[in-house]
Point group: C2
Amino acid sequence: MLEDKNQKRTSLSELGEFGLINHLTKHFQINQKSTLKAIGDDAAVLDFSKNKVLISTDLLIEGVHFDLSYMPLKHLGYKAVVANISDICAMNGVPTQITISIAVSNRFPLEALEELFEGFTLAANRYQVDVIGGDTTSSQKGLIISITAIGEAKFEDIVYRNGANETDLLVVSGDLGAAYMGLQVLEREKQVFQVNPNNQPVLDDYTYLIERQLKPEARNDIKELLEKLEIKPTSMIDISDGLSSEILHLCKQSNVGCHLYEEKIPIDPQLINVCEEFNIDSTTIALNGGEDYELLFTIKMTDFEKIKHNPNFTVIGHMVAESEGAHLITRANTQITLKARGWNAIES
Amino acid sequence: MLEDKNQKRTSLSELGEFGLINHLTKHFQINQKSTLKAIGDDAAVLDFSKNKVLISTDLLIEGVHFDLSYMPLKHLGYKAVVANISDICAMNGVPTQITISIAVSNRFPLEALEELFEGFTLAANRYQVDVIGGDTTSSQKGLIISITAIGEAKFEDIVYRNGANETDLLVVSGDLGAAYMGLQVLEREKQVFQVNPNNQPVLDDYTYLIERQLKPEARNDIKELLEKLEIKPTSMIDISDGLSSEILHLCKQSNVGCHLYEEKIPIDPQLINVCEEFNIDSTTIALNGGEDYELLFTIKMTDFEKIKHNPNFTVIGHMVAESEGAHLITRANTQITLKARGWNAIES
């Protein structure tokens, strides 16, 4: 859980609730003009002038959403913020503020929370979002993180999930599947470690995958990239649960079907190598992996020329009539019905 | 946990994540003009026109903040919403939206969550706030609720904690201490029940106290009441942790001291009777009880005539120079230094 097992362990009860909150939040900076009042009153006060306000929230539970045996707390903090900011980016908005609430059991010393908050602070600085509130309390078991992300957008810039039309092109940023395979590599190393704690993992062949799992980034650059290309997506979503699942969300909410072309799905060469090593089909991973935080969106067919050679984007398919359904067209030119096999948080 | 122990128990896994969310959220109505898009996309979209946006968030953990053995789930849901709305009222704002995230262990059947969401829905309807988002996931232990409340206010209407001046009058709405004594009554009944499960509790003498504990209300009426009186508070906070603790927040952030008069503290007659029965000093309960969700605020001395006979408000003291400190002036005319003994969520 802690990077250095010998470091100091300060009990949280030594500081008291308000002492703890002051200690943990003192490094948060205010960068956004829209933040009139951040932490320290009954509520934060924000001013978005004529812009619309975007709100998204996530709840992360130790043992359900993360495993501290291979997820360093600093990375967890960073990733928790990124995952929420990604939802604002998926509306074609600009993330501006977050609230962060945590509950911790008393197995966590102050130094562990400092690491976690270092991750929060790194992400807040990287994405220039202000931490404007939160709650710090105790849990009966493990670590719980609840983040609400706030963003802004001009009304005419907002992109919903429900605007895709037949013949629109389906486009994705970056590459897919790497975060999931990074997790598989880390889980394998955990098992090796449990058998032989003196084994030193050699992870050089997996650096990209592990980074995608432990330190993902939200695509807050896409809004500007698309504006420069003079493209406004017709629908958009971020890929948190896996490509298949997200495509089906766009299809369902837009009342369209989809043809997704296997050969077009962008996959990093390292993912291909590791999938061979693990004897897993890389398309399956890209379809169902999740946690890539890339943006998936549709554009008008007439925008194809603007985007076709852009290294940030890959056209992976096109929308069709709803009655045709949503299918993967394989390299062998067979049609397979897309299913949402993405990670499902509710399991019995 | 459930009001009827014989009722149907449907496993959450039967519905799947999206089925569960759809089932639980279908009764939420949209009432606010400012809600452009609620549940169903990556983020909600809100339009506050020229008003400022207020945001507050809380995290509630079973076994830390609530005990399901005497807190019915419907009441818990209602109270969780009220506690957050109260923070928006404490800024002199109008609560408009909330997000609700829950994590539950698989000991909870669907019917339990339905009760909880019935409470959420009742409160949302009562306060006309729109549920615009959230997260539903599994926990390793118990029930976790995270709520973010959103509100709006004109810039010139917002009241912070830091605006109190020397000689300002200290005013409180409603009466204090009842919620805490309601909890004591319920805890006593729980112990009686554990000794003899066939014992039927007689709670007629405690109805007001128990209602204040199980079904508190946020004072969203105070903003309008004060506007009609042509009073704008100089500072304001809601009483969630106890009067002492909240007075000290106002004093610290406003750089003033305070004289609080014991004889002025508004206490319900039922509280006095029950305090005698429990052999507890009712002033101590009013000072440290918490969870009353009344509003505590300061007004200019010149506004005294406007408020002095108003049944909704009680002037309980006045602010003094910071160097004089914050004191309770007892009925015997002795000065006792105010201390924040309010409930502290971080305990080892």
